[in-house]
């Protein structure tokens, strides 16, 4: 366990006992909540659990404080919190198998989530899936930069260069996505961005991106994003 890198730069492991709650928070912060070797998403990529995690980013997932008391998740398609979590792990994080209630990771995450103070009444968080991806009018470019910086850049990196992106699997925007759809008309190529934002990995698309509901990102903000990405 004591890892000796080289004489003069020695690393010493120090084992520290931690609680199950701390274990749960570590899981929340760690992409290894999925055993997939290519996954770079953690729970915190899409959800805020505590105020200290709120860095001003626009996250597609609902806040986690109070999550266990909500009656349903995923627009009413799940009423079991563990199944809702497993949906994230499988569709976004590349896990092949769901956690069961007996898995230590699931227990630790439950310990952490159950200790978060509820931020409101136990009601389902609205999550309207926009099924019809249609062209939108150009929005405000300045607003679009804000949308890009808060909603897109943490995974896709900087506009055009992709610098700082979370994973190379996240395309550089917009060029890489445009290049993958040269067979489409300019309008349809723009609709691809609408489709990807609204559908994510679902509804006939692929990949690992989560969808942004209308409550999280309005059509006006999406229009602004399209303008900022120079898609008109």
């Amino acid at each position: 366990m004591a890892a000796l890198v080289a004489c003069g730069t020695r690393t010493e492991d120090r084992v520290t006992r931690r609680t199950a709650v701390e274990h749960g928070r570590a899981i929340y912060l760690d992409p290894r909540a999925s055993p997939s070797t290519v996954n770079r998403f953690a729970c915190v990529t899409c959800h805020v659990a505590e105020p200290r995690d709120d860095d001003g980013k626009l996250r597609p997932g609902a806040p986690l404080a109070g999550v266990l008391a909500r009656p349903t998740y995923w627009h009413g398609q799940e009423d079991d919190a563990l199944r809702a979590i497993n949906a994230c792990r499988i569709y976004f994080m590349g896990a092949q198998e769901p956690w069961s209630r007996g898995d230590e990771e699931a227990k630790a995450l439950y310990a952490y989530l159950s200790g978060l103070p509820a931020s409101g009444p136990p009601v389902a968080v609205p999550f309207t899936v926009v099924e019809s991806a249609v062209d939108l009018p150009a929005g405000d470019r300045a607003r679009g930069k804000v949308v890009f910086d808060t909603a897109c850049s943490s995974c896709h990196g900087a506009k055009r260069t992709g610098e700082g992106r979370l994973t190379e699997r996240a395309p550089k925007l917009p060029e890489q996505t445009l290049a993958e759809h040269t067979y489409l008309s300019p309008t349809d190529r723009r609709v691809v961005f609408v489709e990807k934002v609204r559908h994510g990995v679902f509804l006939g698309y692929s990949g690992t991106m989560p969808p942004f509901s209308r409550e999280v990102m309005s059509d006006a903000d999406l229009s602004a994003l399209l303008a900022y990405l120079d898609l008109y």
Partner: protein
């Protein structure tokens, strides 16, 4: 995002760590400078059951328990038939956004489980440049549901496009057909085989994780309806829509070639459309005959089970017949039809119409199935509706066909299964 260890500390790793501690003084003496890395050792969770099920248990049902699969809303509706009450409509399926396509359901009330098949639709309701990509080739799914609250307790993958799911009377064989029209119309590149399979599943082996692969039997092009011999389901009678035939499958010998019994002499010029289009196969209460409803030729005909030949009785049903129901004494058949939408009561020996009722769109759009339960005076009709809005299950007086009760259910219901009282 941080990359801390998540605490998978085992006894072996602890031992190695302690051994390394013993060696540490000598190593430290040899090297100047130390960086310390924290390795967390997490305490196990101690406390109440994690993620407790909050779904309410279904109320106790004395008579028939009805379960309705709602294809368009990924839900199952539970009904207390005798009390005339909808007990609950609960979400099922795996995908939280796409339509999983809840397609038919089977029930084993004695053991306390239901089994729902999911047929991911060939195109979604969504629009967009990618919205219709490849869905028809997505694998199907069977979920095992705990009957007390319809919570998912297990699942197993099956082939694309599950068509029907039935359970043997003894509860030991679960059979799923695969209504794979895409395969039926475009010959498989490698073998030219247009046949799809039926999946043979041991219900006890449907697990939460790691269910064994079902036994698959290649049967015929686009198999849809299936009936099992009683009580153990040794033989499956499968309506082969794409072959205009009934396949007789010996489930005790999965490697044996099924026997195909053609519906008639007319020969198909191309794989599809079918000339007859046998869609459903329902065994009579005595087990002596199989009624086969064909949606293309719009008729019902009868297979003699003993001789495995069709009788000469073929009765026009005007509209396309879907899933008929036998009266317990086999004196009549209740036949739901589409275009025109209605239900006909016919004598299975003579074809004489005893009564019939046409439905308006507001009463029952696209009647899909007729079902009889323990209530001797009611026939239940599952109405698909417009496949976009919630629809209904109607309870009709068996004699007059007047509506006695209406159950609101989900979008595009396609199966009512009745769990008989234990």
């Amino acid at each position: 995002m941080t990359g801390r260890a998540t605490g998978r500390t085992s006894l072996g790793s602890m031992t190695r760590w302690l051994l390394s501690l013993c060696m540490l003084p000598a190593l430290v003496a040899a090297c100047p400078g130390t960086e310390t890395r924290e390795v967390p050792l997490y305490d196990p969770y101690v406390g109440p059951e994690v993620f407790p099920t909050r779904r309410a248990k279904l109320p106790a049902v004395v008579g028939d328990l009805g379960l309705v699969s709602n294809t368009g809303s990924d839900t199952i509706t539970a009904i207390d038939v005798a009390q005339g009450k909808v007990l609950a409509t609960v979400p099922v399926g795996k995908n939280p956004v796409d339509i999983d396509g809840t397609h038919h359901v089977a029930v084993d009330r004695g053991r306390g489980f239901a089994y729902a098949a999911f047929s991911y639709p060939p195109s979604t309701t969504a629009t967009g440049p990618h919205a219709s990509h490849g869905s028809s080739t997505r694998l199907g799914l069977v979920q095992k549901l705990r009957l007390e609250d319809l919570a998912v307790v297990g699942e197993v993958r099956v082939d694309p496009n599950p068509g029907d799911i039935v359970l043997s009377d003894d509860g030991k064989r679960l059979v799923v057909t695969h209504f794979d029209l895409a395969r039926a119309t475009s010959a498989d590149a490698g073998t030219g085989d247009r046949r799809a399979t039926i999946a043979l599943i041991d219900p006890e082996k449907i697990l939460a994780v790691g269910s064994p692969e079902p036994v698959k039997i290649a049967v015929c092009p686009a198999p849809h309806g299936v009936a099992l011999s009683r009580p153990t389901g040794d033989v499956a009678y499968v309506s082969c829509y794409g072959a205009d035939a009934i396949a007789v499958v010996d489930l005790t010998k999965p490697s044996a070639t099924p026997t195909l019994v053609k519906l008639g002499g007319a020969a198909q010029a191309a794989p599809l459309p079918a000339i007859y289009g046998p869609y459903s196969a329902i065994l009579s209460p005595s087990g002596a005959e199989l009624v086969v409803a064909s949606t293309e030729s719009k008729d019902v005909r009868f297979l003699d089970v003993a001789t495995r030949t069709f009788t000469n009785r073929v009765f026009d049903t005007k509209g396309a017949p879907f899933f008929p129901a036998w009266a317990p004494d086999e004196s009549v058949l209740y036949v739901p039809t589409q275009l025109p939408d209605g239900v006909r009561v016919i004598d299975p020996k003579t074809g004489q119409s005893r009564s019939e009722r046409a439905f308006t769109a507001s009463e029952c759009q696209r009647p899909h199935e007729a079902v009889l339960g323990t209530d001797p005076s009611t026939v239940w009709i599952v109405c698909e509706g417009d496949r976009k809005a919630p629809s209904v299950v109607l309870g009709l007086d068996r004699d007059t066909l007047a509506t006695r009760v209406t159950f609101p259910v989900g979008v595009y219901p396609d199966r009512l299964i009745l769990g008989r009282p234990r």
